[in-house]
Amino acid sequence: MDVPADRRYTAEHEWIDAGDPATVGVTAHAAQQLGDVVFVALPEVGRVLAAGEVFGEIESTKSVSDLFAPAAGEVVAVNDALTDDPGAVNADPYGAGWLVRLRVSEPGSTMDAEAYRTLVG
């Protein structure tokens, strides 16, 4: 399973990179578990999130899952392209399937790629 080493991961299968602002998405493992993503509900730009706070949801025909903020901070951008192409989350979870960009005020509880790889086995 693809787990890029250049970012950090939550136990709930989000990733966050080291950018400023930081980009947030869900992992390839999560995308595969969900099946084809048909809808992603994302927050408004400007919303301030606490680390671990639910900031949206991601839906497939089979299930709907909450999205958890991997860090505290302000949402400065959301991936509007997912409205028309939610399948980008499956096709390119670490690239075109990104969810939000956060101006991080405080890091959350995350792990490195190796720990995440162990978690998802």
């Binding site: 099946g35 048909v38 025909t61 089979k62 709907v64 399948g87």
Partner: protein, 370 residues
Amino acid sequence: MTQALRRTPLAERHLALGAALCPFAGWEMPLRYGSDLAEHRAVRTAAGLFDVAHMGQSELRGPDAARALERVLVSRVATLAPGRARYTMCCDADGTVVDDLIVARLPEDDGYWIVANAANAAEVAARLDGATADLDADHVPAPERALLALQGPRAADVLAALDATGAAPLLALRPFGAARTTLDGVAVLASRTGYTGEDGFELACDAADAGALWDRLLAVGGPLGLLPCGLAARDSLRLEAGLPLHGSELGGDLGPFETGFARIVQLDDRDELVGRDALARRRDAGPSRRVVGLVAEGRRGPRRGAVVRTPEGTEVGTVTSGAPSPTLGVPIALAAVAADRATVGTVLVADVRGVDVPVRVVDLPFVRRG
């Protein structure tokens, strides 16, 4: 320690195809092979092939087979012509639905073929054992029989491409017909039935032949658009077709009268039917709730368990199944709602994970074949 999951005769095929597997009713089953949306669309526009060998198959044989079945099933079966099948239900003494199932009178008129849901197969089998105990009839479980569901508008074309001569008796079947034939050297017992809302066939064969039949159907069906399909597509297809799932729309206080299947319940001269009096009472009282189709406004739809209210806030029901419809592109759901709120066009409100979303009662099925 958890019990090991049972595997169908096609388990190695599923692994080789890279299927995502999931536990289902004690079985390890394919959830999807690649894209569940692509599998869903293949069934709506071309064809899909499902491994449904987890379903509980058995036969009832002997002079009293029909009498035994009529102790257990809400429908008459003695009136079924050879080579005809029907959708029916098995109930407890209090009228609770134990399972919904397909019963077919075998084409040779030497018994009946029963296909029950995997989750309820043991319960149904126990009732059939009980019903036959004092009669000249045998309940013969068929655990070594596989079952493949070939579904979609091109299902008949796939069979014809596989073996035109062998497929002829199956292509001649009307919906809910059953026949035996040999397809590319494999002896099959087939019915023109399914759980997707499309034309299609359910093909039973010996476990030892299942792999060969599966491989050949995929090979000749591929150019026609056929895909192997998993349980994810099976569930989204049956939901679009408005078909109930036992455990969601059937069971507890939801039975044939709540789900629009009153016509399958035949209670005249049915003194031996388990649950007869309770079913008669339920029928005469009329359902207090009905299972209806809902379409939600917007993109976020209600899932199973969502509370349904009137626009004024009075709780009137619960969503029993819900998903975004791949065909329609809108959230759809089945819900059990108060009978006086079940009229098509009624506007209600569903609690979608904390947000009230307007929903409208619509006609079922959500998606019609063709």
